[in-house]
Amino acid sequence: MAVITYRDALNQALREEMQRDPKVFLMGEEVGTYQGAYKVSRGLLDEFGPTRIVDTPITELGFAGVGVGAAMVGLRPVIEMMTMNFALLALDQIINSAAKMRYMSNGQIGVPIVVRGPGGAALQLGAQHSQALEAHYAHIPGLKVVMPATPADAKGLLKSAIRDDNPVIFIEGEMLYNTKGEVPDGEHIVPLGVALVKQEGTDVTLISHSKSVAVAMKAAEQLKAENISAEVIDLRTIRPLDVATILASVAKTHRCVVVEEGWPFAGVGAQVVHTIQEQIFDELDAPVLRVTGVDVPMPYNKVLERAAKADPAKVVAAVKKVMYLE
């Protein structure tokens, strides 16, 4: 098992799936000649040629639609959005075409497409380039939403996403691309819809996904120093949500804090909270709190930006609150 970056894990998944299935192709801005804006597709043009590694004009709505159309007739497109911020332009094709085709056609036409790219903030990219919009996709029946936090999951989940017969929105993290971890060589599949208990604990459950998993883990470490035992869950797939894993944990710890990068209003965390209180209300010893991105457009200034993001200190504070320690 090699230690590789999240970026290279994605690259491996793409390469292996393209080798396995000639119907898989990659399309997007700068995926070919430029080797990917974030180099996720490095080397793929050389290996698979321009028919299968397709550079597009800057036309997110258009090439998302091209992908959906190709998927409708049996190809398995992987559509790269340079960042998910730009996918706002393509939302009509994703929501009105991809998510509804199977239903409207009574099951005649499926759309086995993956739309992938980095979501959320990197560093100082400003308001238009720093959005974590997974809640938009997770809101829509017909879509699956996947957000790996580690290199191993990046590979295993992307392979599953590509093999899935549904439209899958696969959101990566620009700040995750360089992170390293052990990744099984070759066939390594992580099923969609299964959360991971990253760390067991007894006092409180921290639920997170994507970049926020690292925030939760750091918070757990700090809590440990204060003798608070946190269980950390990485959702991995946002839709379908692994409700069983969430409930099992909270039923054990009786307290929960949800950590996410996105905005609070009707965010993914709101759904998690609703599900917990709906299903195991009597197990809760305290309200479920959330630590989210601050409810403002992202500022450019470094200090303000830092303050706008979820961080371990905020998580620790929330945990103390649900434990009535202050």
């Binding site: 091209v66 190709a70 007739v73 190809l75 094709q93 009574n106």
Partner: protein
């Protein structure tokens, strides 16, 4: 301007004559189907939006005649005519309009979302312009797979102002995709005349932005449509070049069933004027003049079509609703285990 010269029909062999009669039957089928659908709508048997194709029949019939069984087709929400011309049965379409399980989309699609994957009929689509990139993707797939299939997209003249049109046509031309974009220019997008929505009058000229082959076609003459489509299909199938066809036609009815035939946006006189070039009347006359048919055989054909449509209506009416469990079916693909 649209070329209205009729192609020569000198050597009218038996097969061609059959074909020509078939075009008439198809146009009559669409006309009678739409009339019946309108009636059913007024009786509350069809719900939602319902956009009739009356007046535009020659476009669907003439263009579909050039296609092969394995080509890919997408349409807007005004697609009953194309669906019929492609060969979906009037029963399956009427049942869909009635929301019945036997409908071509299982009663879950409705008038705007007709599908028959087995015929490559890949949808009526409700978002103006939204299916233009989809067809482009299908043409991309044909090229990718190395087949000589063609992707054909029908849309209205108002759709060309959408960004999706621009983005898709640029890619189709850039990548030399076997796509045919059929703009059915019926002069209006709902209540907005072409010239109040587009900075240029000749939609076909939009192709220049992509260096794309293009043609203006008289959409009331079924053979003119067929001839232009033959050229476009050849260009797509053999030369792998896309085409934009601007087919000039006219919508004889309101935009949808809830829209009057002439409202604030066009006069009764204008509609009457255009009705003089009814594609069915024009084609019947030609066939009679050329001795391919007679007044009587035309009437008999029409009666035959009427019988079919009455049957479709009855079928749709009596067909059962989808099972309640259908509400949850086909949101996602059935789970399959992938193990490599």
């Amino acid at each position: 301007m649209a070329s209205t010269t009729k192609p020569q029909r000198t050597s009218l062999d038996a097969a061609t004559a059959d074909q020509y009669r078939h075009y008439l039957r198809q146009m009559l089928q669409i006309r009678r189907f739409e009339e019946k659908a309108g009636e059913a709508y007024s009786l509350g048997k069809i719900g939602g939006f319902c956009h009739l194709y009356i007046g535009q029949e020659a476009v669907a019939v003439g263009s579909m005649a050039s296609l092969r069984k394995d080509d890919y087709i997408t349409c807007s929400y005004r697609e009953h005519g194309q669906a019929l011309a492609r060969g979906i049965t009037s029963r399956a379409i009427m049942a869909e309009l009635f929301g019945k399980a036997a409908g071509c989309s299982g009663g879950k699609g409705g008038s705007m979302h007709l599908f028959d994957a087995s015929l490559g009929f890949l949808g009526g689509h409700g978002i103006v312009g939204g299916h233009i990139p989809l067809t482009t993707g299908m043409a991309f797939a044909a090229k990718y797979n190395g087949t000589d299939q063609v992707g054909v997209c029908y849309f209205g003249e108002a759709a060309v102002n959408q960004g999706a049109f621009h983005e898709a046509l640029n890619m189709a031309a850039l990548w030399k995709l076997p796509a045919i974009y059929i703009c059915e220019n019926n002069r209006y997008g709902m209540g907005t005349a072409l010239e109040r929505a587009s900075a240029i009058y000749d939609i076909s000229e939009r192709a220049c932005s992509y260096d794309m082959a293009n043609e203006v076609v008289d959409g009331q003459e079924v053979l003119a449509v067929k001839a232009a489509m033959d050229r476009a299909v050849k260009r797509a199938r053999e030369e792998k070049h896309p085409t934009l066809l601007e087919v000039r036609t006219y919508r004889f009815m309101g935009h949808s069933m809830s829209d009057p035939i002439h409202g604030h946006y066009r006069t009764k006189e204008e509609v009457e004027e255009h009705r003089k070039r009814d594609p069915i009347a024009l084609w019947s006359r030609t066939l009679i003049e050329d001795g391919v048919m007679t007044e009587e055989t035309v009437k008999a054909l029409d009666a035959d079509v009427m019988t079919e449509i009455e049957d479709a209506y009855k079928f749709a009416e009596e067909a059962p609703d989808p099972d309640p469990s259908e509400l949850f079916a086909n949101v996602y693909a059935p789970e399959v285990t992938h193990n490599g």
